[in-house]
Amino acid sequence: MGKGSLIIVLGASMVLSVMNLQLNKSSERAVENMVGYYNSSIARDIANQSASYLLSQLADSASWRVTSPTSIPNDLFSDIGSYTATYIIKDTVIRINGVERNAIKLAVTAVYGKESHSVVVYADRNFGYVPPVVRGAFTVVGPLDNTISDMQIDGRDHDWNWKYLPGSGVFGVSSGTSFSNSKNARIGGTDANGVDYPLNFPEHPNVVEQNYKWGGNFPDSPDKALGYPEGTLKSIAQSGKEGSQYVTNPKDLRYPLRGVTYVELAPGVTWKSANLGESPEGILVVHNSSLNAKVDNIHTKKSAFKGIILADYMFHLHLDVLGAVVLLSPKLETKKECKGNEDHKVFYSSEAIKRATKVVASQGSGWRGRVPIFGWRE
């Protein structure tokens, strides 16, 4: 019996050992499963944080590129132990909804433990932005009929070379009041559903937005229009950043116009025969706090103005604009007539606006609001 018991006990011990081994394996798998997920989450965090870190550097230096895989400094995330992260930053072209866009590709791969995670960010090469106020090639709060007369206004999107980009434009005209087109202006644009309509007279009703209320707060200053604290544009203009200038007398302007050109006229003063010079670009502000700075017979010496014009009142527009025009005053021209500008055009261009607003967007720190992101894949 003693031998029998011994055999039974030994046999049972063996069975127990095998089962214990199985149990341990099962526990090990459970732990591996959770640790794997944990490591994967950490790798994701490292990749995302690295991308944010790199974007902040890119915001300060838009031309920065790293074409071969380079390591992120090991002490960047010192609290989480050992990791590796490599990145590249290069120019590329990305297709979004069938439209090709020039982009910067930032790719980060992070490895933590046995897990790795990749993040790819596509950023616009133009670091500016399109202010929400720009709802049309012409955005106004007052009557626009006499101001535009018979010129061509196209809210469809265009690139820097006037090439039409489908499906990403704005209204031809966005107005805070009713709009009539009695002078035969040819108007095109993109409606709220992204459908494009070519230039035409009479215009398709979908390319004109009327009686838009702006939540009761149409911006009454250029800073509000761009979404910045009061005085920001004037301060940039006075700093001379990227060719910016601030004048109270238009005769003091230096050409070519670049950056922020801020013309602050005394109340009721009109800038007559307003010459923007050759190939003007950027943000043009003609404004005073009474909202009655007037521009009459605005023209360029050669080629178009590319960027965004923020003015209180304009009349006799004898120039081409690639970008957008925003008129801040509710009191626009309703009596005088402007004839002979049918050969001039205002074409919406998100690229021209972004290039113009880049000088404002580069204010501040971090990357949010400074680097426009097309897509973030993780």
């Binding site: 127990l16 499963n33 894949r377």
Partner: protein, 193 residues
């Protein structure tokens, strides 16, 4: 006399040892079974979390317009370029009802269907017994489901929280060991706060 007493004693001790070993064996078997079930639930929970993360983090990637197309407690539908080929896909998750899985031992398990571009709906969560989405706006507030019928409200969604519980399909002594997961995802393509 002494020999007989020894024999009886050894039989009793041997019997007790055998009984102990068999009981221990039975307990370990039960424990191993329980651990395996637990592991299956845990793996199912991790796999489902990974799948949801894979899709939800791409919400709005390379799309235009408002990418969140439907935001409900038991369903979410959104646009994202999953294949990274420049063409947006439409992804739908929706929770089915328990009667569809009436054939399983667990009376509470429900299917979670995932479909891409109106393709086949596939149950991606075996053993799922509880699942719902909630949505958080730019102010950090949990949004009411009825408001999310409006595109204007879906436009301000910034975080999506998923809560779910997985149990084994077959019980152990009528006991279903649950694994509950709460995961909040912030899809970066939804925009800034």
């Amino acid at each position: 006399m002494n020999t007989s007493l020894d024999n009886i004693s050894s039989m009793i001790i041997g019997g007790l040892i055998v009984l102990t070993v068999l009981t221990l064996n039975a307990n370990i078997t039960t424990s191993a079974f329980e651990r395996t079930r637990d592991l299956v639930s845990q793996e199912a929970a991790v796999n489902l979390t990974k799948l949801l993360e894979h899709d939800l983090y791409k919400l709005g990637y390379r799309t235009s317009g408002v990418p969140l197309l439907r935001a409900e407690s038991l369903a979410v539908k959104f646009a994202a370029d999953l294949a990274d080929d420049g063409t947006p896909d439409t992804i739908l998750y929706r929770v089915g009802t328990a009667d569809i899985l009436a054939g399983t031992t667990n009376p509470r398990d429900i299917p979670l269907y995932r479909s891409i571009n109106r393709g086949d709906s596939i149950n991606v969560a075996p053993g799922l017994v509880r699942f719902f989405f909630s949505y958080i706006d730019t102010s950090g507030n949990v949004m009411r489901y009825d408001s999310l019928k409006s595109e204007a409200y879906r436009q301000v969604v910034r975080l999506i929280t998923v809560r779910f519980t997985v149990e084994p399909s077959d019980p152990l002594d009528s006991l279903f060991i649950p694994v509950t997961v709460t995961k909040t995802v912030r899809p970066k393509n939804l925009g800034e706060w």
